[in-house]
């Protein structure tokens, strides 16, 4: 399977402050890849490095088989990026922003843009300064999708979108991915990852905590334990060998015990807080 994104030992500092440290992972062609982590974990730094928006100290990034430091313009022509902050020139009209994004790519995207505007219910004659955050996000989605890129990079795409639009947005992503595109989805909404992503990377404090399939992560040795020990109700996440747990329980009065797969939310919280 072709690797659309290949990041090897990426390290970036902002002066004395840590950005990301020794990040390595890859994203395969045709998948929706989840990118998770708390605020300040380094997700945006990784994405911005991938797009050549910031320079990094060590490591390498290949997008669609090309080096981002050498072929930035060619790579960006094949990427549809939606930043978390959907900001445009306030005095311009929506249609002018959409046309500007298409013109820079030297592509006629009118047909696709019209289709997207209709599905996302965007009024193209409105001025950007008159739009709410949700509507600016829709414009950002159109700018990212209208040229039918090979790779989508979305940074917190659904914040500000109403549930109907969120559903429409993921429908669109699935359609483009079915057509051969790849998608990297950075988000805080775990249900989105569970529902749409096959693989996921979890970041914390600038380091990569794990990269695996969503299924494998939920099937790890992490268990949710509920028990009545020595007359006290206990409820916690346990990660490790269950034999160690049984040894720990020797000598205690265990009236009841339930060992189960924890929900995805709890596993991620466990990674975040670990």
């Amino acid at each position: 399977m072709n690797k659309v994104i290949e990041i090897n030992h990426l390290t970036k500092h902002y002066g004395k402050h840590r950005g990301v440290l020794d990040i390595s992972f890859h994203v395969n062609e045709g998948e929706i890849f989840g990118f998770l982590g708390p605020n300040g974990a380094g997700k945006s730094t990784t994405i911005r490095s991938m797009l050549g928006l910031i320079r990094f100290e060590t490591g390498s990034i290949k997008i669609l088989g090309k080096d981002i430091q050498k072929d930035k313009e060619t790579i960006l022509n094949e990427i549809g990026y939606m930043p978390s902050e959907a900001m445009f020139y306030p005095a311009m009209k929506v249609k002018d922003i959409i046309r500007m994004a298409a013109d820079v790519r030297k592509k006629d995207c009118q047909q696709e843009a019209e289709k997207l505007c209709e599905r996302l219910q965007v009024d193209v004659n409105k001025k950007i300064s008159d739009l709410s955050l949700g509507n600016r996000k829709k414009v950002s989605i159109i700018c990212a999708m209208q040229h039918k890129p090979k790779l989508f990079v979305f940074d917190e795409p659904t914040s500000g979108l109403d549930p109907l639009m969120q559903t429409e947005f993921f429908k669109l992503i699935r359609e483009y991915v079915a057509g051969g595109a790849t998608c990297m989805l950075s988000t805080h909404v775990l249900s989105e990852v569970k529902q749409h992503c096959k693989n996921v990377a979890i970041m914390k404090e600038g380091r990569l905590q794990c990269v695996d399939t969503v299924d494998n992560i939920t099937k790890t040795s992490t268990k949710r334990i509920r028990m009545l020990r020595d007359g006290k109700q206990e409820d916690f996440i346990f990660k490790g060998d269950l034999n160690d747990l049984s040894k720990e329980l020797v000598g205690h009065d265990i009236a009841d015990i339930l060992i189960e797969e924890p929900p995805l939310e709890e596993i991620f919280m466990h990674f975040y807080q670990e």
Binding site: L53, L76, P83, M87, V104
Partner: protein, 263 residues
């Protein structure tokens, strides 16, 4: 690259028209008022020419304000040089920094266009606006002169406006480099630089000890009274201006192409 250029031309078109209406309008008004003021100015011209440092600073020792050429040099020359350089400073100081100030840089730089091309497109847009401003202003001044039906030293007048254009481009390049270095719009700083150079030029014309250093200000080679009275160019100052312009554009490319997107 042309898309960015076109975008910037559209963005600043209102600013251009407002500054043209103010500067060009004031210039035209002064020209049209000349005939009604000519009689009273004949009496004042001699006293204005013998006011020592004041006359030196404003060039009234070189030309009589009772003639259209002298009046143009002292009145329209001041309005145009200050107005033109302020306009150039405002558009150039905001041209690059407005992207980070308005949080639009992430949208712009995620498009398939390099930072070098953005610099080139935006600089070309600045130059186009400055050029248009001068063409429109000179056009309206010439219209005023034609309506007035007075004679003026045309060759010197055109030379003066070419040098004005050069001065505005030099100041625009300084402000463009400032724009490349800053994350916020600094048009206050741009205007401050213009006024500082203008004040320095006036002072250098009055204080003999500074006369050798007056070339440090771009206003020295684009002075209306000097050019309209002699028809010559202060070559040293002009060459220094060309050097400053080229240097500032190089600094802009060096700084801005190595800049990271603001966090």
């Amino acid at each position: 690259m042309f898309t960015i250029y076109k975008h910037e031309i559209k963005t600043y078109i209102k600013t251009l028209l407002i500054w043209f209406a103010c500067v060009g309008g004031m210039g035209l008004m002064c020209i049209l008022l000349f005939s009604s003021m000519q009689d009273s100015m004949e009496g004042m011209a001699e006293s204005f020419a013998s006011m020592g440092a004041f006359s030196d600073a404003f060039g009234m020792n070189q030309l009589s304000i009772a003639t259209l050429t002298g009046f143009y040099a002292t009145e329209i020359g001041t309005i145009h040089s200050l107005g033109g350089t302020m306009f150039a400073a405002i558009i150039s100081t905001t041209m690059l920094s407005k992207e980070e100030d308005g949080h639009t840089s992430e949208f712009l730089f995620s498009l398939p266009i390099s930072r070098s091309k953005v610099i080139t497109a935006k600089w070309c847009a600045s130059v186009t606006h400055i050029l248009l401003f001068n063409v429109l202003c000179v056009g309206i001044y010439l219209l005023g002169i034609t309506i007035l039906g007075e004679e003026i030293a045309m060759k010197e007048l055109l030379l003066y406006h070419v040098l004005q254009l050069m001065m505005q481009l030099e100041l625009a390049a300084i402000c463009y480099a400032i724009s490349a270095c800053s994350k916020k719009n600094k048009f206050g700083l741009g205007l401050g630089i213009v006024l500082l150079f203008y004040a320095y030029d006036l002072i250098a014309r009055v204080i003999p000890a500074l006369s050798d250093y007056k070339i440090l200000s771009p206003f020295s080679y684009a002075n209306a009274a000097d050019i309209l009275s002699t028809g010559t160019v202060l070559t040293e100052a002009l060459l220094l201006g060309v050097g400053v312009l080229a240097g500032c554009i190089c600094i802009t490319y060096m700084v801005y192409t190595k800049k990271d997107l603001a966090a």
